[in-house]
Structures are given as structure tokens and as C-alpha cells.
Subunit: 370 residues, 5 copies
């Protein structure tokens, strides 16, 4: 039980990632707004920064350890994709903020892992926050805080952890596959978000497998109590829902944003993004309903089982109580009880008992009480 | 049980058609957006393409096996209806896409059978996705993914499976019945969607029959447990609801679309379409309520039955326990128990027992406990 | 039970009037849109058409059997009220449609009794569909499909059955009471709708009586099970709700309609209509809540009763089981049981039994278990 | 029970004041719209009409028995407040309607006590309907229908009953306290509505007292069944809610009304009115939740209690049944039962019984079953 | 129980702070609108007023006991922050109102502690009401009524109690840290509200700790009944929700306000404020769901436990009743019962009993009834 509880705690949807710890809040409160504090739990010592620089004819890839050592000018002729792996190096974040002239509040939200998905418009850049979901080796669901800043000719992507789902895009840039090399930073932003949302489908597919497996077991073996498993699945679905749900608004806003940063021809792709987001959200909603249904079925099963047990037990008692009464009758000490003197009285009595017993069973069966 | 479970699985509303399988997702993720991948399960070897070309005075009907062999020009003087039966020939879809100059994302959604109903506006064409519902031979409910593209003088209709509900329209075109030959492509689109929505009425009528049949049985034979049948009907209703519900928004958008593709005089018909859609949705909502009511009634019946059984059993025990006590009294070995010496004591005792038994029964009957 | 079930079926809210039968649908599907098919169940042989023609100084009343025989011109100087009693004569409907130059879809909806209440605006006329509710002789609730078409100087009213609530208006026209003779067709439309909505108050008053009567009985005789009566009342309320609810939108649209057909001074009356509609709807909503409350109360009563019975029975058993044990003690055959040799042992034993019995009763009463 | 039921009926929220009686409806239906019929139940023989006429420097107060005898001209230089106490004198209402040139439908709604709160704009006047709530001597909650008509320089206030909450305002007019004498009719309207809404706070405070008292009792004496009291409180809260809820929309409309009748500087006060209305409504909503919570707590208490009783009784039976079995053992008539010949066998038996009894009790206590 | 009840009462969410006491209402009703009455319960004798006056180069700090003694002119060159600690000195409030030329209704709301959070726009100032939440020494949650008035160059902050969360801001002003000294009054307003919302995170963190602790205990020790603790936590969450929820609208309005008082560059910060508010509200909503889940789990646990107990007890009875019957058999006095004459009959009987007992236990275990 203790172990299970611990495991449950790990996926507790409102403590793991979405509420800042008290210490962090206190630290932050002692600072003025705009101060960058990393609120997550993963300290990465060596924050690596990958930089892609490309246009239709040219591509350059570089990995820097300290952003201050990256001195290339921001150049409108190429698209620059700066990818920061780890948020604990707040100095790097501040450097980036200065180089790209970002609003002071932006980096505060980049480092604040409890920030919910959102889209903020600034005159020179769009700031998008969303959540990556992935299962770790133990099958536990983790949330990763990702920030994306879209400028005229650059995309800044800040991830909380190492490793991501963007290798396909990197390959497409390197090998000049698809549209990405021939389009601007806005298409890169779309491609990145599309990869994240595509990954959501895998997450919900895993959820679907778990739910179906549980459903199967509840049907084939209804006598077990699955309530804790169901509760845990429910928490997982809620966690997914909380990460994905605000994205609907973000992508919707992105579709309607009236900004020179997003070209007309990219807007069609954003609409496609919106479709996929809706599809993910609807599927998650269906899972919620399904889990509620499983919960109902589980408690109905348990109640039915309990009722069955009680009924059988009560029937046994009900048959034997009158029989005990009759045995009591012939245990009485009245001076004159004619049956007692009968030669085969005892056998007749047993006959009566067997008759009553079998008769009752047949009667109850016929009334479908047994 | 196992068999039932399998059957249930087939209509599982969130796995059958609406969530892409993991493999497909993975395959798709390795491609850039806009790449056409068929996500359904029905591979049709020979995808037939029916083409109607007509105006008020002229009609031509042709069936081609490969779209590349269809070389007729798109001509604004006639309405062209291209009907693709099967989505597994992605090459044909790509060819069509090029011939009619469609946006690259359109064909991705045409082939993606998990795409929910939607309406996308493009400068030169409208793209509509909806779902056909039909019962197969086993009475199982199937969903078919249908895409419709409306251009200036053409309608492209892409269906997942062979066979459809449009034969009436084909006859009307051939025989020049009704308005269809004298109006444009927009009216053809309306006629096609109208046929689909009319077919929904048959689907919900079948559902209605099933629900009424179940209701009848619950009323006439309340001692059975119908929960699994109810659960299955509920899943079916949910599946219908998920296919039809988004159509409300689609038709609503279609009614309000400000586009030269839909003529003013056709808009009145679209409004009629909207009315019918609402009517279908409302009926489905009523079914949901009805099924919830059946569920309540079923569990009330089961609980009542259980209570009745327990009550009767408890009453039997309650009558016999005091009688057993009295029998125990006269089984005691006190040296001086006057009743035991009475000549007819035993008969008096039996008299008292019968009196108590009948008296209790009458008392319980009068108190309506029995 | 069987009889009740039949009765319930009659008021089944989703089969009686709102869903077309499969045959009708199939018939309709084989026709092009705009084809007039009567979908109700009441075939009236001789469809009578009443025509009123009036202005401030003049009134003429006529009944025609075939509309084709009514050849008077539509004249803007008088208001014409054409009242069709019965929808099975589709020829008459088509004739009217041609004479008043109505849109082809209008007559389809007039004859389609499953059409929900709605308001459609056409350039030359307004088309309103609503439902009349009335109790027939058996107290059964029936729905009548009514269509109203408002033109510049005419009102066409098509009713499904004979008999209506408009006799008051007919008298006012004949005797020139109130405003109706001095105002236009729009005021006549208002007066007709007002009469229908006023009649709703009688319907809901009857419902209120039934609910109060049931409530009274549940309070005074809580030991009965009223769940089927409640269920039936609930169905009736749902039927009323489904007929009236869409009217809110209709009247709201009518209030906001920007159309030369409705004069400014009539709009104030339409606002009044809206007030009454809201009032009816709110009352029906209260009824829904009340019925839900009755249902709760009923099941609480049943559960309480069951609990009471079980408690009393258990208490009887609980008292007698220890007493039986004691009787068993003195039925034992130990060689040396001192109490058995006592002169009055048997009487002492009875004394102890009575003491235990009365003591237990007092104890349970004091603990409020009895 | 009967008495309680009667009392409940009095506050029945959907019959007392909000639905017109059938007779009244029928009477009204036989008249044309605009006909004034009093639908309440309180016939007041002598309807008194109080008239205040004031401006910054002048104040005159008059009470008239028949409005026709009040012949003073409506004068824009003074504010006139006409207060009608009782609605049964429909002649007076009609006279007022003519003198102030009101729309014919206004007086119909003034006399129709089942009219829900609303605001109607007319070119020359605003028409507001709201409900006064007060507790009568028996603590019963009553609803009073109040209509207010705001003109350029007059306020007409029509109340259903004698006695009101406006004495403070009368004093302020007489003594020229506050702003009322120096401002126009619009401020008077605000002051009157403010007095009504302030009175709502007293009503909900009384409700709060009742709820808290009940809550206290449920906590301190959880073994009682409070469901009927809770049900009654719930009905009272629903009644209050129905009277106040539509006022939100009324005041909101009043705040946004674009009308020369309400001066800019009065609009700030109307906003304040809106705040207070929201506050009342929110408090009532909290009460609803609290009552739902009480209901839950009450039924949990009852179930717990029942469970406790059943558990204790079952435990008694469970202890004594094995003991009775053992007594039965030594009541058997086997020829050779060694224990029976033991000198102290009987005492050993008793020892065993006491041991089993006490042991079971300790065991059950330790397992927290007792 | 009594003590617990008292404690509960203290945090009663609808009586403690949000509904004015009847006396206060009555007092207020006897006054004209705009009269300032303190409706809270904390009388502070010596209301201290702290005044900050600063710009980029200059800062002055002063504490006055009577506002009338503060005679400095309001000067647009410096930002003035007037902080009133305590609302019981209504004279001071009136003085401030006159000096800053506030609308008469503003001070009424400042002193009315039951006023819900809101934002009112006036031509020269914005008036914001919100609630501070803090835990007192006993861990009880208290609500403090705070009003903030933003003018061109001043911020008036009126708090109900001493002590606040603004010391960080005071330090930043004194030491010229962050932006506050170089920006206007609008940024000061933002900083103050930000401090309050940051403090909400600590409050909800404490709530989170309590909920997690309770959850832990329900999991590890499911046999307890936690319903009262859960109920209390629920009330606390509701109290927090009621204080924070209306703030969403306030900050949203603040973001959209079109007013010269809030500079463009401050609006970005207000948007950040909105993000945080949403985050707090969403977390509180999750808590509500979690508590509902705990409640379910708690009652399921209790029901399961009860069922387990009943099952075990019933099983004991069920085993012993047939055994008692058999003992009764051999206690009968038939003249000829062969078993009784057997030498080891008694031992065989015991053997049978032990066999039945153990057999039943094994049977029940195998059927998972035990």
C-alpha cells in the first residue's frame, strides 16, 4: 500500500509540475517582477545550446556551451533556431534575452516551469509556452516545460530537459526535405509545434492501451476491485488534460493573431495545428468519460458481488432456521409427544428435513433467488 | 463473456476510427506535413473513380481506374463530379490534388480517416470532411470517412469504402429530375450532404428501435440485469454523437460562409441542411437521456429485487427465531415445568406455534412488509 | 404492467412526433429536396380551408373544400387569413405555395410534422413553425404541428388537426373587438401566437396539478413506490419542454427580425410574447427540478422503509438469539446443573427471559434504534 | 405530517405566485392583449394612492382614494412620485395609464403578479418589474409584485400590498436629506430599487440564520432525520433565487440603457446597484450549495446510523450463535458424552461461554468493528 | 464535537466576511447611499496612515495619525502612495475622499468589507477591490478587505488590518531596486497587486499540503472516517475560491481598460498578472476536484469496511446455523435414534462439526468470500 501511494504521489497532477514550491515562491517574492528564477527540479550542470542557421541554399549547425560565446549577428537573410536544453542556467537565458531584446517578463516565464501554456504577443516577437509529455522508463508520465519565441528571422526554443521530438525536423533542415528550408521562421515554429502535438497522439495512444487493458480485465474478471488502478489512470488523464487543454486557446489565438511575423501561407498550417489539437483534446475527453464509466462498472461489480454473497448466506440461514426449530420441537420434554414413540420417527424426521432442504433450494432457484 | 467483450470492442468509439494507430502516427511523424498517408484499415486494390460531367442540356458519365488517364479539362461550362471510391490509392489523391490545384494539407486530411468533421475555406475551394454512418450485415455500426471539395465548377467526393447513398442523386442527374441539372456545383454539394444527413435519420431510427425494444424488455421483465446491453447501446449512441456533433459547426459555418462558391439561392437550402442536422443531434441527445434513464431504471430494479429477496428471507428468520426459542424452553431439563406434565401440552404447543406463525404473517402483511 | 407500458409508449417523447418513421424517410429520400410529403399519422379526408378577409370596415368569411376553387386575388387593401385544417392534402399545400409564391422548401417543412419550431426569413414572407399542445379525452398529451406564414397582407396558418384555440380571435375579427381589425397581418400573426402561448399556460397548469397531487400523495403515504408515475410525469414534462424550448429562439429572432413585414408598433407586442415564452419555459424548468426532487424523495422513502423493516426484524432476532442460547443452557444434559433442581427454577427462568426481553426493548428505544 | 405538508405547500415556489391560476388565464384569454386583469389573490377594498411632488425647494404630499380625483398637471419642474398600494383597483391603473400615456401592454404586466422581473424600454418611459420579499408574522416568505415606471419627471410605483421599505426615502424627501431632493426622477428610481435590494440582504440574513441553526443541529444531534426541514429550506432558497435572479439582467440592462431618462451621474449609482444585486445572488448561490451539503451530510448521517445499528445487532447475533451451538452440543442425547459426567462440567461450560463472549467483544473492539 | 463545530463555524465561508450583519445593514439602510459605514468586526483605535512620496531621484516616507494633518499637495511630479491600515476611522476615509475628489460611492465600498472584488472606472481614477488571504496563528484562514484607488500620480491603498505583504515593495522604493522608482503610479498598482497574487500561491500551497496529508492518511489508514475533515477542507477551498474567483474578471477588465491612467508599457505587466490569477484559480479548481475525489474515496472506504464487517459476521452465522441444527438433531428425544447408541457417536459428531467448519472456511476462501 505504502509503495503504491508513493507511486501515486509521483504523478500527483497538482504538485508535480504546476504549482511552484513554497521556497521558490518566497524567493521570487523577494525579487522584483521580471527576475529570472528556475522553478523546476532538474539542475543540469552543462546547459548545451544548439544553433541552426539556414536558408534555402545554406545550413550551419553549431553547439555552444555558453551563450555569451555565440557572437554571430542576427541576420534577416537566414533563419536562426536557437535550442536551449535545460533551464537551470539562468545566466544564459538572460544573455539570450538581451541579445534578442526580449521583454523582461518573458524570461521569467521561460524559467517558471509552473507557467501554464499561453501565447503572448509582443511587438517584435511572439512568446508561446507549452508542455511536452513523455513517459519515462518506469512508464511514469512526465511534463516538460517548453518555451518558444518567434522573431522576424529566428526561433528560440527553450526546453527543460535534454532530448526531444525534433530530430525529424533537424533532419529535414539538414537534408533540405519538405518546405522547411525554403520557408521562414514562422514555418519552423509550426513544424516544431506540429511535432509536439503529433507526439501527444502517442501519449494518448499509450493511455488508450492502458484503459483498454483495464476494461478487458474488468469484463473478464469482475470480482476484483480495480478502484485504485482506475483512480491512478484518472489522475494520469487529468494530468494530460491540464497540459493539453490550454493549448487549444494558444493555437486558436495563433490562428487569429494579426501579426507580420506569421505569413499568410503559414496560417493554413496553423489551422491544421488547431484541428489536431482539437482532436487530441476530444480524445482525452472521451477517455475521461470512459474512465468514469469504468469506475461505475467497477463499483457496480463490487456491489453486485457483495449482494450475491449476502444473498447466498442469507438463504442458507433461512433454510436452516426453520429446520432447527423442528429439531427443537422433538427435543422438547413434553410427557406425551406421539411422534417420539413411533418406530421410524427419527427416519421420518430426516426425510422431512431433506424434503424441506431440497424443496427450499428448488423454490429459491425457481424464483431466481439463487 | 469473452465473445460479448469482443463485440463491444468492435464498436469501441475511441479506438475504431477516431484515433490513429501508433504505427501510422509514427510513420506520419517521419514525414513533413502535407504528406498523404492513408490511416484507415481498408485496402482497396482497384480504386474506381466515377466522373459525372453535366449541365442543363448535357450529361456524360465515365469510370476511370487511374486518375492520370482522365485528361479532360476542367471546364466552367459544365459541372464535374469526381467520386473516388477508396482512399488507399494515395497516388490518385495526389494526382487529383495537382489537377485541381488543391492546398497540400487538403489531401493529408482526405486520407487521414481519423480527421473529425470540419470545414476549411481556401481561396478557390471549400474543403468539407464528414462521416457516413452505416450498419453492416452483423448490425455493427461503421463509420466511413468522406471528404468533399467544392470548386467553381466541380465537386470532388472522396469516400473510404465502396457503395454509398448517392444513387438517388445519380439518377436525378441522369434523368434530369429536380433542380440538380439546372444548378451549379454548390447545389450538387448540398444534394450530396442532404443525402448523408437523410441517411442519419435511418441510423437513429435503428437506434430508436433498439432502445425501445430494450425499454420494453426492462418494463416487462424487470428481474433481469440489462446493464451490459445498456452499456453497449450507450457506446453506440456515443459513436453516432461523435460523428454527427461536429457537423453542426460545419453546416453552420457553411451557412455563414461568405464565398463566391455558394450562390445566394443555394444558401436557403443550406439553412434547411442546418435544420436537419440540429434535428438529428437533438434526437441523439434525447437518446442519451433515455439510455441514462434506462440505466437508472435497471439498477433500481436490481436493487429493489435484492431488497425484496433479503426482506422475505429476513422475515422467515424473524418468525422462526422466537419459535425456536419457545421450543428450546420446553427442551429444558428443569425438574418442575408444569406445562410438560399436561396431557395435551404438546398439542397446545403446536397450536401456539401455528398461531404465532400465522399471526406474524398477517401482521407483516398488514404492515406491508410482505 | 403491460397496459401501463402501452400508455407510456404513447407519450414516448422521441417516437411520437419528433422522429419521422423509417418509411417516410425512405420515401422522402427518393425525392428531390422541396418535394411535399406529409409525415404525420392523421389522414383527414376532407381538408377544409377557412379564409377570412378583412380590414377596418369590411369582413368576409369563407370555407372552401379545394383551394383551387378559391380564386380571389391577393389584395393589399385587406388582410387575408387562410387557415388550413389538416396537412394530408398535399395538393392544396402545393396550390397555396404557388398562389403566394412561397419558396419550395417551405411547404416541405409545413408537411413535415417532425420539423422542430423555427423561424425562417424569406424576402417576401416569414415562415414560422411551432407546436400546439393539448390533452385529449384520455388526458394524454398530444403535439400538433402548426406552420404560420406571414406575408405583406396575408397570414397562412396550416394546422395538422381540426379544432384550435383561435375562436377568440375569430370572434374579435367578426365583432371588430380590440385592435385586430384596425391593424395589419403582423398583428394577426402576433394574436395567433399569443393564443398558442396562452394555451401553454393551461397545459403547464394541468401538469402542475398532476405534480402537486403526486407530491401530496408521496408526503401522506410515503410507503408506496411512485417511481413509474414519476417517470411518466417526467416524460410528459420532457415532451412539453421539447415543444416549447425552441420557441424561445423563434420569438427572440422574431423580436430582432429587421423586416418590413413587422411594423414597429407590433414589435412591442412581440416583446410581450417573448416574456410569456420565457415564463412558460422557466415554469417547465421548475417542474423538471420538482420532479427530480420527487424522484429523490421517493427513493429515499423506499430506502428508509426498507431500512426500517430490516432494523425491526434484526432487532427481534437480536433479542431472541441470546434468549435461545439461555434456553439451550438449561436443555443441556450435564449431570450437575444446580438451577435445574431449584423448586421454582423454571419460573425464575421465565422471569429472567421477560426481564431480558423488556430490558432490551427499553434499551433499544432509549438508543432510538426502535 | 399533514400540518407540515400544508405549511410546505404555502411556500411551494411554483404555485404560490409565479404561475397564474387557470381561471385567471382563461379569463385573460377571452380578452384581447392589453386588457388589465389583476392575477393576484389579495383584494384590497380601498386602494390608496400616495403622491409626492417635490423639487429642491418645494415638497407636497397628498393621499388620494380615486386617481380620477387627482387632477394636477404633470409638470417637468417638479418630480412626481405616484405610489399605488394595491393592484385590485384596475380602473385606477387604467386611469394612470391614460394620464401618463403609457403603452397598453404596460398595465397588463403591472396587474399580472406572475410577471417575472424585467425591464422594458419605451420611447417616453422605462418599465421595470421586480419582486419584494418579506417574511410575514408566521415566518413564511411572501413575494410582492412591484412595478416601477420612470418618466421624464415622474416615478410611478405600483405595489401589490400595503406597507413597504420606502419610509426612509419618504423621510429623506420630507426632510431634504441626502441627494434625493436635488436630483431628478432617475435618482428617485435608483433610491427605491436600492431600498428593495438592501431589504434582500435582511431576507438572506434570515435564511442564513435558519441554515446555520439547522447546520448546528445536524452537527450536535446527527441521529435525527432532518430531510424535510432541509427540503423546506431548499424550497425557500429556490423561491428567493427565482425572485432575485432575473433582477441581475434587469439591473445590467438598466446600467447599459441608452436613454435620456437616466442621467450620466445617476449611472454610477446604477452600477452600485448592480454590485449589490450580484452580491445577493452569489450569497443565495452559496446557500444552495450549503443546503446541498447539508442534505448530503444528513443522508450520510442516517446511513451511518443505520449501519451502526445493524452492525451492533449483527455482532450480538454473531457472538451468540456459536454459543447456542455449544449449548446444543451438551443438550444432545448421546449415551456417552464424557463432559456431561464431569463434576464441575456445567461450571466449566459457563466459564467457556464467558470466555468466548468477552474474547469476541475484545476481538471486535480491537478490529474496530464495535 | 462541540469544539469542532465551533472551529468550523469560524471559517464558515458565507457568514464570516461576505455577508453584512443584520445590524450593519439596518444602520446602513437608514442612511442615504454614499454614507460610509465600516461593516467589518475589527475596531482599530489608532488608524495609522503611511505615506510614500517618490520619483526617480527623490523619496520621502511619513506616518500620520490623522489624515487631516497631512497637508502636502498632490503633485503630479511625484508618485504618492497613501496606505491606510484599518477601516474603522471613517472620518479619515471621508477626508481622503475629499482631498482626492473621489466619487461618494467609492468610500462606501472601501468600508464595506463584504464588497466582492471588482473594478470600477471613474473619469479620474480606477477603483479596485480585492481580498487578501492569510492564515492566522491557529492556522485559520482569514480574509482581509483591501481597496486600491489609482489616480494620475497617486495610489491609495486601504487595508482592513495591520500588517501586509508589501514590505518587499517598500524596500524596493526605499533602495530604488527594480523599475518601481522610475515608473509611474500605474506600475506601483501593478506591483501591489502582484504581491497579493504571489501571496495567494503560498495560501494554496498550504492548502495543497493539507490535502496531500489527508490523502496520505486516507490511503494508509482507510478504516477511519475523514468526512468532517474533508468537509472542513472543502469549506476552506470554497472560501479561497470565492475570494479569488472574481479577481479573474477584475484583472481581465484591468487588461482591457482603455484609460490614460495605465500606460502601454505597464499593460504587459497586467497581462502577466492575469496569467498568474488564472494559474491560482485553476489550481484551486483542481483542489476542488481532488477534494471531491477524496470524499468519494472516503465514503467508498467506509462502505467497503462496513460491507467487510457484515460479510464476516454473516459468514460466521452461516457456518454455525447448520451446525446448531445438527446438534439439535441429536438433542431430540426420539426413542430410537441409532447414532445415539454408538460407542463413539459423540466423537464422530465432533469430527463432523470440525469437518463442516473447516470445509466451509475453505470453500468461502476459495470463492473469495472471505
Amino acid at each position: 500500500m505504502k509503495r503504491l501511494r508513493k507511486q501515486l504521489k509521483k504523478v500527483n497532477p497538482f504538485t508535480s509540475a504546476n504549482v511552484m514550491s513554497k521556497n521558490v515562491i518566497k524567493e521570487q517574492m523577494s525579487h522584483a517582477p521580471g527576475h529570472v528564477v528556475y522553478t523546476g527540479s532538474k539542475e543540469i550542470k552543462d546547459v548545451l545550446i544548439d544553433v541552426f542557421d539556414y536558408n534555402a541554399t545554406f545550413v550551419e549547425e553549431e553547439t555552444v556551451h555558453e551563450f555569451s560565446s555565440y557572437t554571430k549577428d542576427t541576420d534577416e537573410k537566414t533563419v536562426t533556431w536557437v535550442n536551449v536544453n535545460g533551464l537551470s542556467d539562468t545566466q544564459a537565458l538572460t544573455d539570450i534575452s538581451h541579445k534578442y531584446d526580449l521583454h523582461p517578463l518573458v524570461m521569467e516565464d521561460v524559467a517558471n516551469t509552473s507557467q501554464r501554456p499561453k501565447l503572448d504577443e509582443y511587438p517584435d516577437h511572439l512568446f508561446i509556452v507549452f508542455k511536452m509529455l513523455y513517459h519515462d522508463i518506469d512508464g511514469k508520465l512526465n511534463t516538460e516545460h517548453i518555451s518558444l519565441i518567434l522573431g522576424k528571422s529566428y526561433v528560440l526554443l527553450m526546453q527543460e530537459y535534454d532530448g526531444d521530438v525534433f530530430d525529424g525536423i533537424r533532419d529535414r533542415i539538414r537534408l533540405s526535405k519538405g518546405r522547411v528550408r525554403t520557408t521562414g521562421a514562422d514555418y519552423l515554429m509550426y513544424a516544431l509545434m506540429d511535432a509536439v502535438i503529433d507526439h501527444y497522439f502517442i501519449i494518448i495512444e499509450t493511455l488508450s492501451d492502458k484503459i483498454e487493458d483495464l476494461e478487458e480485465r474488468i469484463y473478464t474478471n469482475p470480482s476484483e476491485n480495480y478502484s485504485q488502478e482506475i483512480q491512478q489512470l484518472k489522475k494520469e488523464v487529468i494530468q494530460v488534460r491540464r497540459s493539453i487543454f490550454p493549448l487549444r486557446e494558444v493555437v486558436n489565438k495563433l490562428e487569429k493573431v494579426d501579426n507580420h511575423l506569421i505569413l499568410k501561407k503559414t496560417q493554413v498550417f496553423v489551422r491544421d495545428l488547431y484541428d489536431h489539437t482539437i482532436q487530441v483534446i476530444e480524445t482525452v475527453e472521451v477517455y475521461r468519460d470512459t474512465i468514469a464509466g469504468l469506475m461505475d462498472m467497477n463499483s457496480t461489480n463490487i456491489a453486485n458481488r457483495m449482494n450475491e454473497v449476502m444473498k447466498v448466506l442469507t438463504i442458507i440461514a433461512t433454510i436452516f432456521i426453520p429446520m432447527t426449530f423442528l429439531a427443537g420441537i422433538y427435543g422438547m420434554n413434553f410427557e406425551h409427544i406421539p411422534e417420539l414413540q413411533m418406530q421410524n420417527g427419527y427416519y421420518y424426521f430426516w426425510g422431512a428435513m431433506v424434503f424441506i432442504f431440497i424443496g427450499s433450494i428448488i423454490y429459491f432457484k425457481r424464483k431466481k433467488w439463487l
